[in-house]
C-alpha cells in the first residue's frame, strides 16, 4: 500500500556539504553509470547522439551565484537527488502502489512493474527528484543504490551509493540519520545541517551543510601593484591627439 510507514528507527540518507562541493558533476555521471548498467538499469536516454539529447538522471547539480550585501560574490554548487522524505508526498499520491517507502530503512523506491507512468508522483515532489524514463515510460528515482549498500559481493568500501563513492571532494556522506550517534548525524549537528523547503512539510531525511562564509579580503597582491596610467604619454599621446584631429 502507498500508506506511509509509521515513524522509522533507521533512516538511511545523504548529507551533502555545499562548502566542499566543487561542481564537477562526477556524482551525476557515477549515478547514471551505476543505474543504467547495473541490475536496476537501463536508465534511458532519448536521442542520445542526436540534435536534442535528453535522458533520465537521478541526481543533478545546479549552481547558484550568491551576492551577499557585503563581501565577495560566491558560487555554490548544489547537488540534488531524492531526499527520501519521512512524509513523502510522492508515495501517497501513487494510485497503483508502485511507489513505496521501505519500513526497514526508509528508502523510497518505485516498483517499476506496477508503475503506469501517470507522472503524478513527479508532480507531487517539490524537489524534482523523479524523472520519467523516456524509453521505458515508468518513473525513475534515486534508490540510494539499494543494490550496492547491502551487496555482500562488493568490497565493504564500495557498499555506499555510487555518488558518495565517487565524489573526489568528499562532499557527500552516507549513513543512518535516524541514529543520533552516527557520523552523519554528528556532522549535521556540528555544521548546522538543514532541510530543503521546510514549508512543504515533507520531512526530508537528506540534509545539506551550509557553505562557510568567504574571507572579505582575498586579493593579497593588489596593494603592491602600481595603478595603470589612465592618460597616454609620449608617442601614444601624440597619436591620440593626431587621430582626434582627423
Amino acid at each position: 500500500m502507498t500508506d506511509l510507514p509509521p515513524a522509522l528507527q533507521v533512516k538511511l540518507g545523504l548529507v551533502i556539504d555545499l562548502d566542499t562541493c566543487v561542481g564537477c558533476h562526477a556524482c551525476v555521471i557515477a549515478c547514471k553509470g551505476w543505474n543504467t548498467q547495473g541490475d536496476a538499469g537501463p536508465l534511458a536516454d532519448a536521442d542520445a547522439y542526436g540534435k536534442a539529447p535528453e535522458g533520465a538522471f537521478l541526481n543533478r547539480v545546479h549552481s547558484f551565484e550568491l551576492t551577499p550585501e557585503t563581501g565577495p560574490a560566491q558560487i555554490v554548487h548544489f547537488p540534488k537527488s531524492c531526499l527520501h522524505c519521512e512524509t513523502a508526498p510522492c508515495v501517497t499520491v501513487c494510485p497503483t502502489g508502485a511507489s513505496y517507502k521501505r519500513v526497514e530503512d526508509g528508502i523510497v523506491l518505485v516498483n517499476e512493474t506496477d508503475c503506469i507512468g501517470c507522472g503524478l508522483c513527479a508532480w507531487a515532489c517539490p524537489y524534482g527528484a523523479r524523472e520519467m524514463d523516456p524509453v521505458e515510460k515508468v518513473m525513475k528515482k534515486c534508490t540510494l543504490c539499494v543494490d550496492r549498500i547491502y551487496n555482500e559481493t562488493l568490497p565493504e568500501v564500495d557498499r555506499v551509493p555510487a555518488c558518495v563513492r565517487t565524489c573526489p571532494a568528499g562532499a557527500r556522506h552516507f549513513g543512518d540519520l535516524g541514529d543520533p550517534d552516527s557520523a552523519v548525524s554528528q556532522l549535521v549537528a556540528e555544521r548546522g545541517g538543514y532541510d530543503l523547503m521546510p514549508d512543504q512539510e515533507t520531512g526530508p531525511v537528506n540534509k545539506y551543510l551550509p557553505p562557510r562564509p568567504r574571507d572579505a579580503e582575498i586579493d593579497i597582491l593588489a596593494p603592491f601593484l602600481e595603478p595603470v596610467a589612465e592618460e597616454p604619454r609620449g608617442f601614444m599621446a601624440w597619436l591620440d591627439r593626431t587621430l582626434e584631429r582627423i
Binding site: M1, T2, D3, V28, A52, P53, E54, G55, A56, F57, R60, V61, H62, S63, F64, E65, L66, T67, P68, E69, F78, K80, P89, V91, T92, V93, C94, P95, T96, G97, A98, D114, C115, I116, G117, C118, G119, L120, A122, W123, A124, P126, Y127, G128, E131, M132, P134, E136, K137, V138, Y194, L196, M197, P198, D199, Q200, E201, Y208, P210, P211
Partner: protein, 292 residues
C-alpha cells in the same frame, strides 16, 4: 505546468459528461422517449470518452487496472473507483428507464452523487498538490464542480438554470484568477527556502544542471508568454461564461441559440482549462531560476 491536451480533453469532457448525467439523475432534466435515450447516450458517451482520453496520458495504459488498488491514500485511485461506479449506476438507471420504463429515483440520486464525486476527486488530484500553490486551494474543487453543474445543465437544456449557474461560475473563475496570482507568494516557498542559501535579491541560478530540456522542465517549468494571459482570460470569460449566459437568458431561446451557447461555453471552458494548467507554477521551477 505543461497543459497536456489529453488532460485538458479528459477533465473538460468528464466535467460535461458527469454534469449532464448528474442533471438527468437528479431528475432536473427528465427527457422522455427517443430524446431521453439520446441524452443518456450523450452523458455516458462523454464520460466514457473522457476516461479513454485520460488513458492516453499514461505511459503504460495496459496496467491501468492496478490504479484501483490504492483508494485509501490516492485521489487518482479514488477517481477511478468513483468514475467506474458512476458509469455502472447510470448505465443501469438509463437501461431501466429506456428498456423497462422504470424510473427508480434513488438510483438516479446515487448516480448523481457518484458523478459529482468523480469530478470532485479529479479536482482533488490537483488541489492536494502542495507543490503547485495555485492549485492547492479549495477553489479548485469548487470550480471543477461548478463547471460540471453549469455545463451539465447547459447540455440538459435547462436554459434559465444554466444561465444563472454560468454567471455564478464566471464570477467564481474571476475570483480564482485574482486569488491564484497571489497563492505562490503566500505559500512561503521561495528560492532562499528551496536552497537554504542567501537573501532573496542576492541569489540567482548561475548554471543549470543541464543545457537542454528534461522531463522536469518540460512537464513542470512550462512558461507561457505572460503578455497573453490577460487576453486569454478575457477570451475564456467572454466565451465560456458571459456570452452563453446572455444567450440563455434571452426572452426566447430556440435550438439554434442553445447550440451556439453550448459551442461558446465549450470553447471558453477549454481556454479556461488550458490556463488552469499553463498558469500553474510548480515550486521545482525555483531550482531552475523561475521566480524568487
Amino acid at each position: 505546468m505543461h497543459p497536456a491536451p489529453s488532460l485538458i480533453a479528459f477533465s473538460l469532457l468528464s466535467g460535461l459528461g458527469f454534469g449532464l448525467l448528474a442533471m438527468l439523475g437528479l431528475g432536473i432534466a427528465a427527457p422522455e422517449g427517443l430524446v431521453g435515450t439520446v441524452f443518456w447516450g450523450l452523458g455516458l458517451g462523454l464520460s466514457g470518452s473522457a476516461l479513454l482520453a485520460s488513458a492516453f496520458h499514461l505511459g503504460h495504459p495496459e496496467r491501468a487496472l492496478k490504479a484501483f488498488s490504492q483508494w485509501r491514500s490516492s485521489w487518482l485511485s479514488r477517481e477511478a473507483w468513483l468514475a467506474s461506479a458512476a458509469m455502472a449506476v447510470f448505465a443501469l438507471h438509463a437501461g431501466l428507464i429506456t428498456f423497462a420504463g422504470w424510473r427508480i429515483a434513488p438510483l438516479g440520486w446515487l448516480g448523481a452523487l457518484l458523478a459529482l464525486g468523480t469530478v470532485g476527486a479529479t479536482a482533488m488530484i490537483y488541489a492536494q498538490l502542495r507543490t503547485v500553490p495555485r492549485w492547492h486551494h479549495w477553489s479548485t474543487p469548487a470550480l471543477f464542480i461548478g463547471h460540471a453543474l453549469a455545463g451539465g445543465s447547459l447540455l440538459a437544456g435547462k436554459t434559465v438554470l444554466a444561465g444563472i449557474l454560468l454567471i455564478a461560475l464566471g464570477a467564481g473563475q474571476l475570483a480564482a484568477w485574482w486569488l491564484g496570482d497571489r497563492l505562490f507568494a503566500r505559500s512561503g516557498t521561495s528560492i532562499t527556502r528551496a536552497t537554504g542559501l542567501g537573501v532573496p535579491d542576492g541569489i540567482r541560478l548561475w548554471e543549470a544542471p543541464h543545457t537542454g530540456q528534461n522531463y522536469l522542465t518540460r512537464e513542470m517549468v512550462f512558461v507561457i508568454a505572460r503578455k497573453h494571459v490577460a487576453k486569454l482570460r478575457v477570451i475564456a470569460a467572454v466565451f465560456g461564461y458571459a456570452a452563453p449566459a446572455v444567450l440563455l437568458l434571452l426572452p426566447s431561446v430556440d435550438h439554434a441559440i442553445a447550440a451556439v451557447a453550448v459551442l461558446c461555453h465549450i470553447f471558453g471552458a477549454a481556454v479556461s482549462r488550458w490556463l488552469f494548467f499553463a498558469e500553474a507554477e510548480h515550486v521545482v521551477g525555483l531550482y531552475y531560476g523561475r521566480g524568487r
